[in-house]
Amino acid sequence: MSVVKSIWALICGLQETLGYFLKTTVFGKPATLKYPEERWTPYPRFRGLHRLLRTEEGKEKCVACCLCAAVCPAQCITIETAENEHHEKYAQRYEIDGARCIFCGYCVEACPVGALLMTGEYELADFTRDKLIYTKERLLEE
């Protein structure tokens, strides 16, 4: 009996692979994408590149509390605070080192004013390390 059973198992294996072959040729498409032509759309909660948000009046939401920098496990956020003309604290320099960021999203969770967001941007490769440092201007874009 065991012989019959194991031969049957071999046939089942062949069936499985042939099934996938037909599913990806005759009856459908492979699961992979033809990347540069076809791009994957990230899900709404996907954690891609960060973005600093502005209020409706165009003011930066960030209050430079440095909680994001404190919670960051990779310590990739650098903030230098200063005082503006209205005697409010603001981030003079706000940098995220894209090369060190692990995209955990803790910074977004920690932000008390909801100034930080993670977008669906995932094509972040570049040729130099300098270009991977996201300055405040770059993070505020769009």
Binding site: K23, T24, K34
Partner: protein
Amino acid sequence: MDLITLAVMVVKIIVVFVAMLLTVAYLTWLERKVLGHMQIRYGPLRVGWHGLLQPIADGIKLFFKEDIVVDSANKVIYHLAPFIITVCAFASFAVIPFGGELTLFGHTIPLRIADVNIGILYIFALSSLSVYGITLAGWSSNNKYALMGGLRSSAQMISYELSIGLSIIGVLMLTGSLSIVEIVKAQKEGWFIITQPIGFIVFLICGIAECNRTPFDLPEAESELVAGFHVEYSSMKFALFFMAEYAHMIVVSALVTTLFLGGWYLPFFNIESITPSTLIGQIIVSLLPIGVFGAKVFFFLFFFIWLRATYPRLRYDQLMQFGWKVLFPLALFNVALTAILHIAQLI
């Protein structure tokens, strides 16, 4: 031998050789494509339409790669090994008939390169020789992985060559000839797969083992032996090993087709019974058997790739056990059974 016969001979050799080389090249494409789709991905897609120029690109790449010769290698054998295996693989196809006869301008051209009356022995001799290529390559590289691959190959060959030899005895008994053409002609009424199912299965399994394909790819087992016997080879020498493996696949597929699946004959229908009046029609009809033969060979090539996508590699002891304790007795049983049934005139 007059001049026309000689010219026809030369043309046939060139056509078969080029066709073989092209099939080998595109078999690599087919393998990558089929494996890709079985793993729910595309496979080669960029070089040419659906990656059709990929084999050519690969060939050019391999051709221009640096040919590294290991310092500690046994030079003569190291250089000789890839040629032994390639020559054996390609020369085996010389006796395989890929069609009946082609009548052209009053000349009858048999569609095979050589009709040797001991064709089957010739093929077995060459396939036994080709294992020398692997073993010598493994030994002369002076590398532990290569040596392991070579050793495994020879052990595997001893386990399988006996069964593969015994598995065709049934066919030879039914035909009464060692000529491959005679074997095919004996199957005009019924394929030997019907009268020799055990022989067919044993031959197919041993054939897979013979050309070192998964699940019997122990000589090159990439996950344990890096690349096995050809680990120290680069450039065109590596390409020769690669080509030999695929050429072996073609030869084994062609052999299974000729020995058990009636070669160029279709079941229940005799192509030779069509007699068109025009010359073009006659040529098409006489070339039709080649198409039938090609289709059968293609099925087995696909089957080989299919197996590779499905089964994991056997362990070394499992392989030995399977070879000696299952296939060998099965092949012997088949010989005895066929002999008894043949004498009782049941088949």
